[in-house]
Symmetry: C2
Subunit: 481 residues, 2 copies
């Protein structure tokens, strides 16, 4: 007889049948009630042990964290607190767990402590819920794009191109650090390296994605990206996952519409498919916020916050309009911002984004048409405004508690304007001939954006540290497991 | 009015309506018939241009590769060769394509040439078909595991663990090659590196996957993996994608059943959802094989080969049985194998695998229970056979034309046997304490496997060089784009 997963039993009414369940012991009360979990869902099944007929040596081994196989009868529970239970006939210990040594005892552990034992934290309720939601969001993203006929493109992780300048890069090499080969002039002889030239870990699949979009129309990437930046914050990782759709024949408005539709689709999918997990995470957050001053607590609970996102249009406004709001805002006038907004052209800081989203509009915001000077070379140049100020057709989506979750733009499809901008920004066009070819041969208006996957998971799970929504976070001085 | 994708029009019967189509010109015949493609499907739509009412300067710019927007009437075609067409009223050139310079002219290009212009090869029929199939296979994999309640785990790409020994690794670093920091004793001071220690690109997510499986029950990974090996073959890449499911409470037979079910599911999905693409690839292969001697041609065409896989159980046999077959085989006795099979214990070479699959059984084969000496430390030790020979509960799936497409095993869940094996194989247990914890606390029988994604795509597309099924292949001395 094969074993039945606990999720199935908890939804079953086929009482009286003989079953085998396998899983890990969460608790064992009164020498009688085992709470058993097999990871298939958050809830445990209760197993009733007849301690009189069970060997003393077995009873002793029914400790938190131990793995067991139970043969028994599946019945409606007579006790309170659970609908069904398994009356055990036979208990087999699969793997012991020494209660003196197992770090996950049935009590509250801090998230900091659990991060140190990231290899075991999967077994806690919180991380079971977080990674189930992460899984659901990932699937929802693939389903969304599949329904729309987008083609998934696996853009390269190791790249010989470092022209995008999106951030500091990790080097990839097989050179021996003890004897780095040199050319006669003392420079490094990269001919001896694996790829015959310097290579790095990708910071974005966008440029390669554009190549594919200008053939397939609509494409998306979903892969890991890297930043070698010394940012030790709750919102930054050195290794994180991004989703980067790129669409031929899309202009800025189409781009915004798609991004908003995607975000709503995947949030709704998580609400529909992870009801138990999100309910658990809602209560976890309420509990966590009890220790905070009233003012710092969320106005909405997690479920309400997610529903609020679904029920409201994201606020769309230009950078110029945003600057106007910020300049006249209370925290700016009272000099409560760390960076006071004085002039058009200023880069927005996290405090400004949060003010717009959390205080002013109280909902997700899409900011568009940023000053050209603070945005990347590949964004499409707008007509200068009446005051002659240059902006690009960029759009960033800002979420409450998260800040920027999506960054995108209509791309500069005009060869002359693109190369002129690259020259101005000191980007070597000769290394980017392959990219420029898309503007030489059948160039079309197109647009795309990048969605930071971990930031999305942060938002939907209500967790507050990005290290807690990826299995094994990579941050400065930390690459454990 | 927004534009309509060509795939939709080709399936439509709503004649007489006004439409806008946008895409790239494949050909322009007789100053009258445009074949237009927007990447949404392999087929082009025919656009009929009224050359008398069209400006000469526009007509001249209707060249292969140019991008256009067409306003026109969608009608049933009167001509032969197409069911529907668009009668153009207005033609807008979106992006020119100089016929003197555009490398993709409407003629047959070699795959080698197209590899050099990988940024443009997406626009050919062959690569449109290949990457559509790749996309469908990827989605099918996610759907398969989602339906079964598996949890996707993103295992780390940058790893501080190099213990698995699955192959040569790429180093990841932010150290300055011009001045590698040294300790007083002359060794490299990795404290100055980004992660404070040496790090590499992952060769497999399996070990981290096991951690998650021993909490969630059933998990899978789908991510890039790396080998810094100097293999310039048609089956090896330095960067490739792997799917690695890992299942608690699974034994070897469950593992084989799941792998066979997965492979059949995704092949069926591709046949059902990429009918046009696979038909095209079938004909491409038939064409390619015309230049080969009769004996080297495939016995079955691509579609028949895929269906054959679906209709037959994979042949399952032990390594020991396979050695017996190979020893007595004609090529072994006639010394036609490069590596003659003499004794039990020999590692199987590609020629042996191909003989078993392509000549002896003529179908996919699952080989099990390999000699312990030639397999990894984490595979579960079987009871020694009657002659005292030690084997492990491994399984490899071999496919015609591909060789090993899946490698898997039941894992060694017994702490003592595992650590003993690690010591024998000189794997430092102290660096693997996190992995050993899974055997200390609630260890359970479990199993898993790795599926090489590009090899799967090779098989389903009938392509013969692995560089042609990944957008931008990374191989020794090659990291272009």
């Amino acid at each position: 007889m094969t074993h039945t997963r606990i999720k199935e039993l908890l939804n079953s009414t086929e009482y009286g049948r003989e079953v085998i369940v396998k899983g890990w012991i969460k608790t064992f009360r009164n020498n009688q009630f085992l709470a058993l979990n097999d990871g298939s869902c958050l809830s445990n099944i209760q197993v009733v042990v007849d301690f009189e007929s069970t060997d003393e040596s077995i009873l002793k081994r029914l400790t938190t964290g131990a793995a067991v196989a139970i043969s028994g009868t599946f019945i409606a529970s007579l006790g309170k607190g659970q609908r069904v239970e398994v009356k055990a006939h036979q208990i087999t210990i699969l793997g012991d767990s020494d209660p003196e040594k197992f770090p996950l005892q049935p009590k509250k552990h801090s998230l900091e402590f659990l991060r140190e034992i990231a290899h075991l934290r999967f077994r806690t309720n919180t991380f079971n819920a977080v990674f189930k939601v992460r899984n659901a969001l990932s699937f929802a993203i693939h389903r969304f794009f599949n329904e729309k006929g987008f083609v998934l493109i696996h853009t390269p992780i190791i790249t010989g191109s470092d022209a995008e300048g999106a951030g500091e890069m990790f080097k990839v090499t097989t050179l021996d650090f003890d004897k780095i080969p040199q050319n006669e002039d003392g420079s490094i002889n990269f001919k001896e390296d694996f790829f015959g030239k310097p290579t790095n870990l990708t910071v974005s699949g966008q440029l390669e994605g554009e190549l594919a979009a200008l053939a397939f129309g609509n494409i998306y990437t979903f892969g890991p990206t890297f930043r070698a930046e010394n940012s030790n914050t709750t919102r930054h990782l050195a290794e994180f996952w991004m989703i980067e759709p790129e669409m031929a024949f899309y202009e800025l408005k189409d781009n915004m519409d798609l991004a908003e539709e995607l975000l709503k689709y995947v949030i709704r999918y998580a609400l529909d498919n992870c009801t138990e997990e999100i309910e658990f995470l809602k209560n976890r957050l309420l509990e966590e916020e009890k220790s905070k001053p009233q003012n710092d607590r969320s106005a909405l609970d997690l479920v309400d916050k997610l529903n609020f996102c679904l029920d409201n249009d994201f606020e769309r406004l230009t950078y110029t309009e945003a600057i106007d709001i910020l300049k006249h805002s209370k925290p700016n006038q009272k000099k409560q911002f760390k960076y006071i907004i004085e002039d058009w052209g200023a880069d927005l800081q996290s405090e400004h984004e949060r003010y717009l989203v959390e205080k002013h509009f109280k909902k997700p915001v899409i900011l568009t048409d940023y000053p050209a000077a603070i945005k990347a070379f590949y964004m499409r140049m707008n007509e200068p405004d009446q005051q002659g100020r240059k902006t690009v057709a960029a759009m960033d989506i800002l979420f409450p508690g998260i800040g920027e979750i999506v960054g995108g733009a209509q791309r500069e499809e005009r060869y002359d304007l693109l190369t002129q901008r690259m020259t101005e920004m000191h980007i070597p066009t000769e290394e980017m001939e392959w990219f420029l070819d898309t503007r030489r041969f059948g160039s079309v208006p197109h647009a795309g954006f990048g969605l930071g996957f971990e930031r999305l998971v942060l938002f939907v799970t209500g967790m507050t540290n990005i290290r807690d929504v990826i299995p094994f976070p990579r941050t400065p001085k930390n690459a454990e497991f």
